[in-house]
Symmetry: C2
Subunit: 478 residues, 2 copies
């Protein structure tokens, strides 16, 4: 058992040092590794499998709402990036530049895409002529590069994986509708599949995307009380269309500019899964997203018939579940610890005594509850356990979120909350950039969003005392 | 009908100008578009959907044989690329170099991956310690960049999409076994799913991958008689392991070098689909790979009940098939032409008279055969039609391949075959680089592979007359 202990002890306790706990989980669950390329990470099989499941399920939802997948070049010529003024100002300082191709120096630098608005605009300019060509609802799954100085696995790295949707519409109304529709697709996916509740709202002008008219966001709360921006959806109005000249002839044969949106979620979501559901034994994955939902672990597997029975059970379960069997020569205790570290939703223990009694033991990863079930009804019972676990994990995360939102009506209350009450702070804001900047400078908290569900919890701005315009969620953030 | 005619006439006849026919099909089927980034293409929805289907089905086959997916950085530091001598010589002249990150000039140039052997070696060096850590059978789906001067859609472009598998094994035998196993996975996939028969064999030293001990290939024959290298599988022996220092302790506690392989297929396969199955009306997609297997086209859709019935039919078929309904306000003739250009495997025509007779008409894309079926059994009949079509397309491609292989035992016969008999030429070879180079200089034909099934069709080299060592497939190639 010495070895088992070592495996578990390898993870720093969450309450001792949350940042170290996070790094330990990422490493011990074998999700990701540093590479010898500065700022770039390696997605190992356990980590990439989570992303594959996210892709598969999110992509199915996209297709249900008319999204078509494409693939655009990874390079953007400098002149193209510069066409929209705000956009280039936002991104130019953090892109990687290709200056040589083969043995030649390029006449024009190419940046490695940090995001692809400009490429999609260039495409739409060429393929949109008439109202019949609209809407265009394209998406791509790809990697993007933003030259970051400090990196953290899944949360911030020079290269990351994401999807970026880019749409063009005939009217402003339709663009706004699509912007909100995709934000809701994101929020529903996170809640239903990842068991992570989201706060939905609009970003302030300071926090919005470079070139957008409006940016909407979903914000999750991590276990340490910090917020994580988990997905954004932008309405560009006709700003990009004017910069790129994307026009169509309407039914009255008049030239009009299109209205555009873009929206994206990334491998950050894996960071959210770790920090919302993880515990001191490692990762805990909700069944709907877990690459392995159940690990069958034989007890006393050297005894006659145990491995056969375990294999038979695995094959039975493989019809309905994502199941694996650990028949390695490690001890059961070691196997339990590994299954727990990796966040595999459940394990099934089966040994000689179980076989004699025609039963096995399902153990939930989140609560460690042990459920003895008859082998005759293991499929039904396991399905029930996984469904209950999924629901319980969401309920727990919702409770945590609700318990970590505090209201502040005075600046002293606000500062006290930032110091002593980890989580979101709801406070009124006058709408001025100066107050946002002062709050950030004084407390490090930033405006996370102006929630869709507005309330007037005070009449004055929490910072300057002038008349309040908006309720804002504030918080420290990743 | 003027418009329908225009649509069809937009495609140059294959026999008039094959290259132009190819370009026309790519454009008119809306598979791909040029971008304003030199050498880079845009995969449009119709083209990307084919790639998605290839990915989905090939990835399932990979997982059946123990492959795990990962994602590695897209950048390779110059010093890492240089570690294996042959490898860097092969790739350095055609890579894109990142020299600036954000506002800073990088201390070391990074190349955008042209392939990722060096990154996987760097990873394996860190994660492989003992025989227990082997084998490693990793794969990634990604894009790679090779700075090409001339480009052709799907066949050659500066950036393309592919998968690259990279494995590490304890023994040379296991590595060789995996190399051949994956080549067979490729060949079977191409034959069973893409309906493209392959010639399998080993590359000559001249044609093998930079850094490999042996390269195996699958070669397909295009309709113009040119060969297309469609997938390769490389055995590296312990060459990379020695260059990177990838060692493990075996069961006797002795340090050993690992043996490695890599294998890849790319979006070139879409080019193969076009040039093997296409005709003068456009693309023809085998049902197993077609993003849309059947397009329901209502006839006289303005008449009462027609659209309802067509919709009902589409919904019924959606349970078992990839189906779409074209209810746009175009004429049926126009819709037929579009369905044909896009290569949608079948269409179902349904009009007032059909509805009255409780029937519909299935039309095969490949033969244009019309099959009248009762609406009561449309699912069964359509499934049969699609299966027959898949089998017929493979049989036709096999027949074409068999009819386009000629034997040459003298150099005159060889040169005549290159001129007058489009296809593969089988001829004996002495094994000398000089003959390979002379043949290429004299005829433009290159050695495609030394087939696994060797025969001695002559005792002497077709070029120099010295004793023959190998039967080789030669041909002009893309």
């Amino acid at each position: 058992m010495a070895k088992d202990k070592k495996l578990v002890e390898a993870i720093t306790s969450m309450s001792t040092d949350f940042a170290q706990w996070y790094t330990d989980v990422v490493k011990k669950a074998e999700l990701m590794d540093y590479s010898s390329v500065k700022g770039c990470m390696i997605f190992k099989p356990n980590g990439y499998a989570i992303w594959e499941n996210i892709q598969k399920q999110l992509d199915a939802k996209f297709k249900e709402c008319g999204v078509e997948n494409v693939y655009m070049p990874m390079f953007i010529p400098e002149s193209l990036l510069q066409k929209e003024k705000d956009h280039v100002e936002g991104f130019a300082p953090e892109v990687a530049w290709v200056t040589q191709g083969g043995l030649e120096t390029l006449q024009e630098r190419l940046c490695v895409r940090p995001t692809s608005e400009t490429l999609f605009c260039d495409l739409y300019k060429n393929i949109v002529q008439s109202y019949r060509d609209l809407p265009k609802v394209y998406n791509q799954w790809c990697s993007v590069v933003r030259w970051e100085k400090t990196t953290r696995p899944f949360l911030r790295s020079s290269e990351f994986l994401w999807q970026e949707g880019h749409t063009a519409h005939a009217t402003a109304e339709e663009a706004e509708e699509r912007t909100i529709q995709m934000l809701n697709v994101y929020a529903d996916f996170c809640e239903q599949v990842l068991a992570i509740p989201m706060v939905k709202g609009r970003k302030t002008d300071k926090e919005k995307f470079a070139g957008a008219e409006a940016t909407y966001t979903i914000e999750a709360l991590m276990h340490d009380g910090k917020a994580l921006q988990s997905g954004t959806s932008h309405n560009f109005g006709d700003g990009f269309a004017k910069a790129f000249g994307i026009q169509y002839t309407d039914k009255e044969n008049k030239l009009q500019y299109v209205h555009q949106t873009s929206w994206g979620m990334s491998t950050r979501l894996i960071g959210a899964l770790i920090m919302v559901h993880g515990d001191d034994s490692g990762l805990v994955l909700p069944p709907r997203i877990a690459p392995t939902q159940v690990m069958v672990i034989p007890i006393q597997q050297q005894k006659d018939g145990v491995l056969d029975k375990a294999n038979e059970l695995k094959d039975r379960l493989a019809k309905n579940f994502r199941v694996k069997l650990d028949d390695s020569d490690k001890t059961p205790g070691w196997k339990f610890a590994e299954q727990e570290i990796r966040g595999i939703s459940t394990r099934i223990e089966i040994g000689p005594k179980d076989i004699e009694a025609n039963q096995c033991v399902i153990v939930r990863r989140d609560t460690r509850e042990k459920i003895v079930v008859s082998l005759d009804e293991v499929e039904t019972k396991l399905a029930e356990v996984l469904e209950t676990m999924q629901a319980d994990m969401l309920a727990k995360a919702k409770k945590f979120l609700a318990e970590h939102i505090s209201d502040a009506t005075t600046y002293d209350e606000f500062k006290d909350a930032v110091e002593n009450k980890p989580g979101f702070i709801r406070a009124m804001w006058c709408g001025e950039l100066a107050c946002e900047e002062k709050i950030k400078a004084d407390t490090t908290a930033t405006s996370r969003c102006m929630p869709f569900e507005q309330e007037q919890i005070s009449d004055v701005c929490v910072c300057c005392g002038k008349p309040a315009k908006k309720l804002v969620y504030w918080g420290k953030a990743y």
